[in-house]
Every structure is written in structure tokens, then in C-alpha cells.
């Protein structure tokens, strides 16, 4: 299956009752799949008039207690930020998919990881976090979609699946979950027949002094729980590594291949792959830095996740970067050249490849 279709089918199996979308490449297979399979199951599908409308339809359906979802690609996610902030403010669970493409502006339809800041550092207005999953395979895209609905319901907070054009378009074999979805009761939802239940209120506004501050403290407590329970990270060959690659999603696949090639040449290379980008595996990285002196962060951006890697606290370890913005995809040969430069040539000479920074500093 294509990644986009696997996400759609996994969502259907996870019990999504309402899907609202808007066409944008490279996620179109997802909305097309939903347009066929949701109505066939008697569930709601709407091609909305805009991404703004789609996310606000999600808001309404989630307010009514239904598992709800929308999907888009980078420019569409910019439009959805308003609704995402309101979902958080009103504590509504929802699953949002971003199949990232090159930007800024209309950019292109090539793969990108340039929406990391938007996904992990807020995006919309107000103090908030989404749980952000970064699948690296079609199988993982499906599995994380299944998980997303449970996590969104558990914390009453939206969850973002952050893929890219390659994850969305790529075909791989996938085994889909057969388990029956089990959404928790939602006594806070509006609509239906109340039958004696007291009226419910879905809102994010209060003009009374201190109320919104208290809500924010409540959200903060929720985020601490999420950090404790939901962090996911893959560590590969880090134990004896002289250099650790840090990458997620599509770039982590490229890095895995580089790791294999490097190990075959006797170079001790490891990989840390954050699966949740928020919460971020700061501790795992800091611990690895106690033993490993060199880190190389690879991204399809000008350098966004690298700020979190630095924030992890690397001690005396050096940090390097290789990134390709605007739809560029890092090449194995370029990553190998950097590893060679650091581990074999001990930084002698210069690297001509664009997008490479040896001894990266926040500047």
C-alpha cells in the first residue's frame, strides 16, 4: 500500500467516524481513499471548502464525541493552525496528518521536514503541544495512526502525524491492525439526547480572571504525563559508536543505510531516531553523549530538530549538521563524506557539499 492509503485504512480500523479533508499534493491518496471507504461504512466524509473549514469540522465532530481526523500537506497545515489551537484550548481529541512538502510559500511537492518547528513548537497561538509522531516506514505510519487515536482520546489533546512526500507516496507491504477500537466514554461531549445529563460546554474562552491561567496549568500537567508515558525513540548501534547520526522519518532511512555502509567499512556509527518528535528524547541523546564524542544531525530542512538535539545537553560532544531545504533529499554519499571527514580525516581539509556545518553552533 501507499503510505497515504495505509494511514487512511489504519484510521478507519481505529474507528475514525468523521474525516474532513481538502485536496493538496502529496496527500491526495488519503482524501481519495476516505471518500470511497468512509461513506461505504456509513461514516462521515466531507471534502471541505478549505483546510480552515476542515479543521473546524473536526472540532465540531470531536466536540460531539466522535473520533475525527483531517489530513493535509504543509501549506494546508498553516491554515489549520487556528483550529488546532482551538482543539487544544477546548481539550478535544483529534488526529491530524501532515505529509510535508517543500516550502516556504507554495514551495513544491517534493519531500521536506521543514515543518518541524510548526509541529513541535506550537504552530498556532497560545502555549501548547501536540503529540507528534514521525513514521519512517509505511508499516510504522499505519501503526502510529492506530496509536494516535488512543493517545488523542486518553489526553484529550490533538495528535499530529508528521510524514513527508516520500512516506506518503512510497509503497511498502503493511500488516494492518485487526483489533477492535475501544474509544473511552466521553461524558464531556455535546449533542445527542441528554436524557437528564446536565448541559455540557465545549469552549476555550473565559473572561474571568485567572481561569485561562488555571486551564494552562492543567494542560501543563497533561504534557508532563505525556512526556512520561508516550516518548518513543529507536537507538541503533549506539553502545560503541564514535559518531551518532540523529534523524527521523525519511532521513532516518537514508541514515540507516549510511550506518550499514559505514559499519561495513569498520566505522563505528550509530543512529538515534526520534519516533515522537514531541515529546523529544532529550534524555536518550544526553546519555549517549556521555560516551559518544560526535553527533551528526541530518534533516530535510535548514536545521530545525538540531536545536532540540543541542538542547539535550551534549556536554563535550561535537555536533554537526547536514540538511537539504526546499524539497532536497540528503544523499548517502554526502553523509558518508561528513563521517569520513570527522572520523577518518580528523577534520583535515574542507567539505564542499552545501548544507553541511561542522561544529554547528546556535547562531
Amino acid at each position: 500500500m501507499k503510505g497515504n492509503e495505509a494511514i487512511a485504512e489504519a484510521a478507519i480500523r481505529a474507528g475514525v467516524q468523521s474525516y474532513f479533508g481538502y485536496p493538496i499534493t502529496p496527500q491526495n491518496e488519503l482524501i481519495a481513499y476516505m471518500s470511497v471507504h468512509m461513506p461505504a461504512k456509513g461514516r462521515t466524509f466531507i471534502q471541505a471548502e478549505s483546510e480552515l473549514a476542515a479543521i473546524n469540522m473536526v472540532y465540531g465532530a470531536a466536540a460531539a464525541g466522535m473520533r475525527s481526523m483531517t489530513s493535509s500537506s504543509s501549506p494546508g497545515l498553516s491554515l489549520k493552525q487556528e483550529g488546532i489551537s482551538y482543539l487544544v484550548g477546548a481539550q478535544l481529541p483529534a488526529v491530524i496528518v501532515n505529509i510535508m512538502r517543500g516550502g516556504p510559500g507554495l514551495g513544491n511537492i517534493a519531500p521536506s521536514q521543514a515543518d518541524y518547528f510548526q509541529a513541535c513548537k506550537g504552530g498556532g497561538h497560545g502555549d501548547y503541544h501536540l503529540v507528534v509522531y514521525a513514521p519512517a516506514t509505511v508499516q510504522e505510519a499505519a501503526d502510529l495512526t492506530t496509536k494516535s487515536f488512543d493517545v488523542a482520546d486518553r489526553y484529550r489533546n490533538p495528535v499530529l502525524i508528521l510524514g513527508d512526500a516520500i512516506i506518503g507516496q512510497m509503497m511498502e507491504p503493511v500488516v494492518l491492525s485487526e483489533s477492535t477500537p475501544n474509544p473511552p466514554p466521553k461524558p464531556w461531549a455535546v449533542g445527542g439526547i441528554r436524557n437528564g445529563r446536565k448541559p455540557n460546554l465545549i469552549n476555550s474562552l473565559s473572561l474571568e480572571e485567572g481561569v485561562v491561567e488555571e486551564w494552562n496549568w492543567l494542560f501543563k500537567a497533561k504534557y508532563e504525563e505525556i512526556k512520561k508515558n508516550e516518548l518513543m525513540v529507536e537507538m541503533l548501534d549506539c553502545e560503541d559508536a564514535d559518531l551518532i547520526l540523529v534523524a527521523y522519518g525519511t532521513t532516518s532511512r537514508i541514515c540507516k543505510e549510511v550506518l550499514r555502509q559505514s559499519r561495513a567499512r569498520g566505522l563505528k556509527v550509530g543512529l538515534i531516531r526520534p519516533i515522537t518528535l514531541w515529546p523529544f528524547p532529550y534524555r536518550a541523546i544526553a546519555q549517549a553523549a556521555r560516551k559518544t564524542p560526535e553527533f551528526l544531525v541530518v534533516e530535510m530542512s535548514l536545521g530545525q530538530m538540531i536545536e532540540d538535539v543541542k538542547l539535550a545537553g551534549l556536554g563535550d560532544a561535537a555536533i554537526h549538521f547536514h540538511g537539504r531545504p526546499g524539497g532536497g533529499v540528503p544523499r548517502e554519499i554526502d553523509i558518508r563524506e561528513i563521517i569520513e571527514h570527522v572520523l577518518v580525516q580528523k577534520r583535515a581539509g574542507k567539505i564542499a557539499t552545501r548544507g553541511t556545518v561542522i561544529d554547528w553552533e546556535i547562531s
Binding site: M57, V190, G191, L201
Partner: protein, 258 residues
Amino acid sequence: MSDMEMEKIAGRSSLWDAKPSPYCPGCGHGVVHRVLCELIEEYNLADNCVFMAPVGCSILAYTFLGLDVCQSAHGRTPAAATGIKRARPDTFVLAYQGDGDLASIGTAEIIHAANRGENITTIFVNNAIYGMTGGQMAPTTLAGQTATTCSNGRDASLGMGNPLRVCEMLQSLAGVTYLARTTVHTPANVIKTKIAIKKAFDVQLKRQGFSLVEILSSCPVNWGMQPVAALDFVDKKMVPQYPLGEFKVGGVSVTPGA
């Protein structure tokens, strides 16, 4: 006849908590809420009604209405209402919007909800100004009318646009089943408003598509008028710009006032 023998034919709605109205003196929102509460009680809808509170003065409705309330982002009420209605078709969805909300920032959402024939009822309160933010020019502000963002009066020749007629705009859409414009500046018109809203409710209850009632309303504080002068402004200035009557009945266009 003594007091004891009098029959009580009207009183405070049981859906409206015994709290002071949050609205300014002479504002039409309270009258419109009252009419809605009466109809919800008459139709026995309180148990499955969701009131969609918009961004604007009427967002405060959640503080006193004894109904499920869902607040939505500015202008997005038709989209959020669509989400609720599609998710729970057994819910009576009452969307309440003002002119800035519906006719400016949420123009796309209202047109497409109407065009899809969403089975919701929209109450559109048009007072020709932004109330909650303190009296800025609205899309429905009349030509020459002053506001904090057009202190010399709205002037289309200076690029401020013309007063937007929502009912006329929505009339051509096939998804719209019932469409009317009323006013609440006199008791007789309040009764006409109630009749129009009743028809709109019937459309949703019979699952016949989209219904909208636009209600002209006064905003004395932001218009800078005494309440009585504001009612006169509705009568003399707003009604000529916004003709009263039904625009669509049973999905068929009719000429207002005919």
C-alpha cells in the same frame, strides 16, 4: 378578578439561568435569545439541542443558557456545526452568528454550509457593527454610518466596500431550504421573527436542509445612540437597505414582501 385567578401566559424561560443579561440596554440579542428559548421549549428540544456560540457579544450565551453549548473560532461556526450535525444527526444544531462573524471572516464557511444543504439552523443577527470589539465597521455597516474604523462614515468610493446583503447572496444556492430576514425593533416584528424561526426549526426537524433567519438588531452603545433612537435607526435606515420578508420557502425563491 383577583391576582390568584390570573393565568400566567408568559415568564422567564427555564432555559435561561436567573442571571442578569450580559447585554447592553437596548441590544437586540436578549430579545432574540428569548424567542429562541421559547421555541426550544415549545418544541421540547432542550434535551438534544447544541447551541453554537460564535465569537462576538453572543459568545457570552454560554454563561446563562441551560443547553449544551459549543463555542467555535471566529467565523467557523458553520463548519463546526457541520461537524456536530454529521457526527450526531440526532442533535438539533442551532448556530448563532453575528455580522462580523458570518458576513466577513466566515463568508466562505456560511456559503459552503448553505450550499451543501447542511441540516442546521443559522440565526444571523445583523446589527451593522462589531459589538464585542467596540464598534468597528462591519460588512453590513450602512453607507455613511460611522464606526471606530470609519469615523467619517462608510464610503465605498474610498474602498470601504458596500453593505453586504446576506439573504440576497444565499438565495441562489440550491442547498438553502428556508431563508428570511426579520427585525426585532417592534413587538409585532418580534412575533414575525418567532414565526420565521419556527419555520426554520421545522426545516431542520424534517431534515429538509439548510435554514437561516437574518434578524436586524440594534446596538445603541456602539452606534452612539439612545435605545429609542436606535430602534428608529433600524426602522428608517436598516430596513430600506435590508428588505424584510422571506427569500426562500421550501427551497423555492420568493420575492421579499410579496
